[in-house]
């Protein structure tokens, strides 16, 4: 919620302001309320005094009236008669003159003589002490549950002859009258007679009922102000009579004394809301003034990070400005260092030319846009020069060559050192033959290395290109192929020949697909029988590998085995071959216990010292006797590392595995090695056999070879017999076994089984077979 600086800032400000306003508002309202309450109490005080004064004024007025009455001669005369009936009627008469509701006459000693309402002496007991004096007395009296303001005045004739009292009801008209003066609602009530109590009040009837519940509390504390939540008036009780029986209650409505408080409260809420709004706007704008430059800076920094050309935001005078300046400095530093890094990354440290990485970066755009010529240069046998002159001089030589390349005219678009002694030049035009020759010649003059003049053989591969035809990697490969050709030719210039690249692609495909092909059954084994001439029977065969590629179709073993040998994958094929053949031999053990199948080994296999152990493990695993397996090796394979190969062969021979030299007579045969080789058999190459019936030299060679081999104790097999005519020559020369299309082409497993069965059936008549 408070993730952004802006929301944090706004929240902080709003919370602080709210707190401040709440506290201020609380304090203000509290003191305002106290003040209002004080004012209300003062109003009540004043009203209470006014009320008292009104009562006193009324009493004085009534006293005057009664005094006048008491001074009336006729009244005094009537009283002086001391006749009860006369006295009562004069009381009645004179009382009604001044609208008194009650009239009474007391003796000078305070005894009740007569009254208008048959009062009892106990009703006026409280007046007794007052009548000892000589002045008029006023009091509030409760008589028969009704309150009277009673005025008692001495009657003098001229000495005191009696007290006359006149009572005036304390009733609603009086309350209304006092309300008119004080502005407050007035209620009269009594302390006793609570049951069915009635108020005399100016309050509405509804409010009067609520007031009844408050009475106990109000009367318990006279002359104090009472607040009650459920009663919307503040009230002050005031006892009217000396015995505190009759009470006047003064009511001030809450809304009058609370009005200013409530008004202030409303204003405070408005001020609060307005202040909050202002604060929000201010906070928002201030936060924006911070967060906007920050977000600008942020995107600026992001642009720097992404390496875009970032335009810095305007630099202000505050801390953000400092940050901006820092970022700008950082941007410049990064740019400088990036330039330096790019320089280092793209250039060769030794020669200062571009490196391979830079070439790969730049070439695609150039190839896509324009025609031109790509040249790859290589120093023939630079390793030898390095070995001879030392690494430091070799490096100097490379630098000198690089200088010549760099100074050559017409200038190359760029020169690069790809690796070691390989250089690349790019021209933005198709060079003429003469220009190429000039270039080649310019590199020929001797290079001066520590006053020794060194001549170099340079091989140059050339690949002219048209725009948007090849990718960078293709172009580099093609010019590399061309340079390879030039190198193989021992130097000079070679153009890329169309199709060279496709052959290369096919090899790549083969290398790539070989492991999958081995496991998915695209490779399979065929068997070509070898027939023993002496017995006319077949007890052995050569296993040959075949590959049916899903896209390339049938691939010649010569091609893919050579490719596998180049790429170092041949042992993978040999392993597969050995396992497949030994597994098949196990299956044939029952039907053809004497069958021996030969597997071809490459030079790499022979150098692997773990080969005998692997073969032993396979034989043991499939429970195949070692005599059932034969291995064929070429002369050239043996020549690689003779001692190691011979040691391996000895181990294999000791395991009772039959060993043969394949393609005898075509390799770099060395008779010196022949006698050392621990083989059982040599196989005369088909080159000497296929035309034996027509070429007398071939027949001679075969004859001599058979004799030589027999002399050394080897069996001899002739390969590639194709017709009946050749067979008789081979029989004459003394070959032991013959292999060729004359007997059978290489056969798949099932077909070979079938062939063996058929051949065995006719084996009893070999002459018939051979003579066909």
């Amino acid at each position: 919620m408070f993730k952004s600086l802006r929301s944090k800032w706004i929240s902080l400000l709003v919370v602080l302001l709210s707190l401040l306003m709440l506290l201020t508002g609380y304090a203000t309202l509290k003191s305002m309320r106290a003040n209002s309450m004080q004012q209300a109490e003062q109003s009540l005080d004043v009203a209470s005094k006014v009320f008292q004064q009104a009562l006193d004024a009324r009493a004085a007025q009534l006293t005057n009236s009664v005094s006048l009455l008491a001074a009336d001669f006729g009244f005094r005369q009537a009283i002086a008669t001391a006749e009860q009936a006369t006295i009562e009627s004069v009381l009645q008469n004179h009382g009604s003159r001044i609208d008194a509701q009650l009239a009474l006459l007391l003796s000078p000693q305070g005894e009740l003589l007569a009254s208008s309402d048959r009062l009892k002496a106990s009703d006026i007991r409280q007046l007794l002490p007052e009548t000892l004096g000589s002045n008029a007395v006023t009091d509030i009296l409760l008589i028969d549950g009704r309150a009277y303001q009673l005025v008692v005045v001495p009657v003098r004739a001229p000495v005191l002859i009696a007290w006359v009292g006149m009572g005036f009801l304390v009733d609603e008209p009086l309350a209304e009258q006092i309300k008119g003066i004080t502005g407050l609602d007035i209620s009269f009530t009594q302390l006793n007679n609570r049951a069915g109590q009635q108020l005399t009040s100016t309050l509405p009837a509804q409010t009067q009922r609520q007031l009844l519940d408050q009475l106990d509390n109000i009367m318990a504390y006279p002359d104090t102000t009472h607040f009650a939540d459920e009663f919307s008036f503040i009230t002050r009780g005031k006892p009217l009579d000396s015995e505190k029986q009759l009470w006047a209650l003064l009511h001030m409505p809450d809304d009058r004394w609370l009005a200013s408080y409530q008004q202030l409260r409303g204003q405070l809420v408005e001020i609060f809301a307005f202040g909050l709004l202002l604060a929000l706007i201010a906070a928002f704008m201030f936060a924006r003034s911070i967060s906007k430059p920050l977000s600008l800076l942020s995107s600026f920094a992001r642009d720097i990070g992404q390496g875009n050309a970032a335009v810095p935001p305007p630099v202000s005078q505050d801390e953000i400005g400092v940050l901006t300046s820092t970022l700008v400095n950082m941007q410049h530093s990064i740019a400088a260092r990036e330039l330096q890094l790019r320089q280092q990354a793209e250039h060769d440290a030794l020669t200062g030319l571009l490196n391979r990485h830079a070439v790969e970066q730049r070439l695609p755009a150039i190839l896509a846009a324009q025609p031109g010529t790509l040249l790859q240069l290589n120093i023939i046998q630079f390793k030898h020069i390095n070995d001879t002159l030392g690494l430091a001089n070799g490096d100097t030589l490379l630098q000198l060559l690089a200088q010549r390349l760099g100074h050559h005219q017409p200038a190359a678009a760029f020169c690069a050192r790809l690796n070691g002694d390989e250089f690349l030049m790019l021209f933005n035009e198709n060079l003429t033959e003469q220009q190429l020759v000039d270039l080649y010649n310019s590199l020929q003059p001797a290079y001066n290395i520590q006053n020794s003049l060194i001549n170099l053989k340079i091989a140059i591969g050339i690949y002219p290109f048209e725009p948007a035809q090849v990718s960078a990697s293709e172009a580099l490969r093609r010019v590399d192929l061309a340079q390879e050709n030039a190198s193989q030719a021992g130097g000079g210039i070679a153009f890329y020949q169309h199709g060279q690249d496709e052959t290369h692609q096919r090899e790549l495909t083969i290398i790539r697909d070989l492991p999958a092909a081995l496991s998915s059954g695209q490779l399979y084994v065929v068997y070509q029988p070898k027939v023993e001439l002496a017995s006319g029977q077949c007890h052995s065969a050569e296993a040959l590998i075949r590959w049916q590629h899903p896209q390339l179709g049938f691939i010649s073993p010569v091609e893919f085995i050579a490719t596998a040998e180049h790429s170092g994958n041949i042992s993978m094929i040999t392993q597969w071959m050995l396992q497949t053949v030994i597994k098949q031999l196990a299956a044939w053990q029952q039907d053809y216990p004497t069958l021996r199948v030969a597997v071809n080994l490459s030079a790499a296999d022979l150098l692997d010292q773990s080969l005998p152990v692997q073969i032993g493990n396979l034989l043991a695993q499939y429970q195949v006797p070692a005599t059932a397996l034969a291995l064929e090796v070429t002369e050239s394979a043996v020549m690689q590392d003779t001692s190691k190969v011979i040691a391996n062969l000895n181990t294999l021979k000791a395991m009772a595995i039959n060993l043969a030299i394949d393609d005898f007579g075509t390799g770099q045969s060395s008779l010196a090695y022949l006698k050392q080789l621990p083989v059982n058999e040599i196989k005369i190459d088909r080159a000497f056999v296929k035309d034996i019936e027509t070429n007398s030299n071939d027949a001679l060679i075969v004859n001599a070879t058979v004799k030589l081999a027999h002399g050394l104790g080897f069996k001899v097999t002739a390969e590639g017999l194709e017709n009946q005519a050749g067979l008789s020559y081979l029989q004459e020369s003394g070959c032991d076994t013959v292999q060729g299309y004359f007997f059978s082409k290489p056969l798949a497993t099932a077909d070979f089984s079938q062939w063996l069965t058929n051949f065995a059936a006719t084996a009893n008549n070999p002459a018939a077979e051979f003579s066909e």
Binding site: F73, Q77, A80, R156, A157, P158
Partner: protein, 213 residues
């Protein structure tokens, strides 16, 4: 009281001598509770042996809107004139039980004096001047008098013998019981104390017109 006791002893001692006395002079000094001379006090001496009564004729005038004198004392059967010496008329009345009378608005001298037959105290007022008051003490005996400003009453020629002495004052706080007085000496003096309401003053005419008392 102490003084009264001394007097009694003195009277007892002089009894023999007194029996031969023909006439004596009696001086009484009346004071209030603060030992100040008390004017307007009425003293009645009732003889237990010789109850003679000699009616008198006095007057209670209305002068300068007051009754003069304030207090009068007469034996029963006396007549009182109420001459009006003021320019205004007066309406003199009394509702006292001993004598109720009314002399309606008059000037100068009323047609006839009022006769007071019944002993008692008569409060006299004026109906049109409420503050005007006067008291007339109607005694059973002829030996009745009012103290002067010095609180003194003098009977220069009084028959020796035993008397009951009644003391009254309009402002007395409570009625006083009669005391015995034996006159045995040719010149006899006695003093009496009476508690009165000290706040009271003699009625007086207001200084100016209406509105003030």
């Amino acid at each position: 009281m102490k003084l009264a006791l001394i007097n009694s002893v003195l009277v007892m001692a002089m009894t023999l001598y007194a029996s031969q006395l023909k006439a004596a002079s009696l001086t009484l000094n009346i004071s209030n509770q603060q030992q100040q001379p008390l004017a307007d006090a009425v003293v009645e001496l009732r003889s237990l042996t010789n109850p003679e009564r000699k009616p008198q004729r006095i007057q209670v005038a209305q002068q300068q809107l007051t009754f003069v004198p304030f207090v009068s004392a007469i034996p029963a059967g006396s007549v009182v004139d109420f001459p009006n010496l003021d320019k205004t008329r007066h309406h003199v009345y009394s509702f006292s039980p001993a004598k109720q009378f009314e002399i309606q608005l008059y000037a100068d001298k009323p047609e006839a004096p009022i006769t007071f037959d019944t002993p008692g105290i008569i409060a006299v007022g004026c109906n049109i001047h409420d503050y005007m008051q006067a008291y007339i003490y109607v005694a059973e005996s002829s030996l009745v008098a009012v103290s002067d400003q010095t609180g003194q009453l003098i009977w220069p020629d009084i028959a020796p013998g035993s008397y009951q002495l009644f003391l009254w004052h309009p402002w007395q706080l409570e009625p006083r019981q009669p005391v015995a007085l034996d006159i045995v000496m040719p010149v006899q003096t006695a003093a009496y104390t009476l508690a009165v309401d000290l706040t009271q003053q003699k009625p007086q005419a207001p200084q100016r017109g209406f509105g003030s008392r």
